[in-house]
């Protein structure tokens, strides 16, 4: 049994924006086993509050209860920098830059959340912005949703 990942990215630009999307699941996938959501803020000087960014819903075809709901949260980047206690060169990178530093800070979690969705032809998705609604202003960010799958080698 081998695995693969499927990624979907969404660009959110307006407060309370709701975006529908779909994952096309390859025909040799036998189950969906993990999920990671990550947030990349594009136009947000400082974000405080609960860390809730949006509400994510996924639904698979062919089965009534094959679904997943979650609140997408912002990882506490500043806290993680201190928690890791690593400088850039300690982590194995000699030539540092801002992008790398931010990349390190935001990679606090590397293991996907375990889910168990059945094999399907499509996964329908719906994402609703909470952050912009909470702040009552348009916040621009990008959401990446990554699904881990198990597949049979055809």
């Amino acid at each position: 049994m081998i695995g693969d990942i499927i990624i979907q990215t969404l660009l959110i630009t307006r407060a309370g924006q709701q975006q529908y999307f779909e994952f096309n699941i390859p025909r040799d996938v036998v189950s969906i086993t993990g999920i990671i959501t990550s947030v990349q803020l594009i136009d947000a000087a400082s974000v405080a509050g609960t860390g809730q960014v949006g509400f994510l819903q996924l639904q698979t075809t062919g089965k009534a209860n094959g679904c997943y709901n979650s609140i997408v949260k912002l990882e506490p980047a500043t806290a993680l920098k201190a928690d890791l206690g690593l400088k850039v060169y300690q982590a194995g990178f000699i030539h540092s830059n801002a992008l790398l530093t931010n990349g390190l800070a935001q990679r606090g979690r590397s293991k996907p959340e375990t889910i168990n969705l059945p094999a399907c032809n499509n996964v329908y998705g719906n994402y609703k912005d909470l952050l912009g609604k909470l702040l009552s202003k348009n916040v621009q960010y990008r959401i990446a949703i990554t699904l881990w799958t198990k597949m049979i080698k055809l």
Binding site: D28, V29, G62, N122
Partner: protein, 114 residues
């Protein structure tokens, strides 16, 4: 194209393509802001245009639907592959499709009968 005609057309078309009844139908209603252009990735799907508005361009490898073009002699309602939908009007417009999702995953469960 009316919804009833689209349904009838799709039934025959899917039979013709060899998929029989092994497909799901979904209504897709896209909301396009002025000058907005979206891309739909439909390599394993089929999109059938219903109630097409004016001043919208829908283009894929199957052809084009745009009431203002004069360099084609037929407009296409059926699209597949990478579909570009563009609203070139200065106002909000709606574009409706019937999406056909082909059941090509051998391991997927079929919806149990109630």
């Amino acid at each position: 194209m009316t919804t009833a005609l689209a349904q009838d057309y799709l039934r025959g078309r899917m039979q013709e393509l060899g998929f029989g009844d092994h497909y799901y139908l979904r209504l897709r209603h896209f909301v396009l802001r002025p000058r907005e252009k979206i891309t739909i990735h439909a390599d394993v799907h089929l999109y059938l245009l219903i109630h097409p508005p004016f001043m919208v361009r829908i283009q894929s490898q199957y052809g084009i639907y745009d009431l203002t073009v004069d360099n084609v002699n037929e407009l296409q309602y059926e699209h597949q592959g990478i579909i570009e939908v563009e609203n070139y009007a200065s106002h909000l417009q709606h574009v409706q499709f019937i999406q056909v999702i082909i059941q090509n995953n051998d391991y997927a469960l079929t919806r149990p009968k109630v």
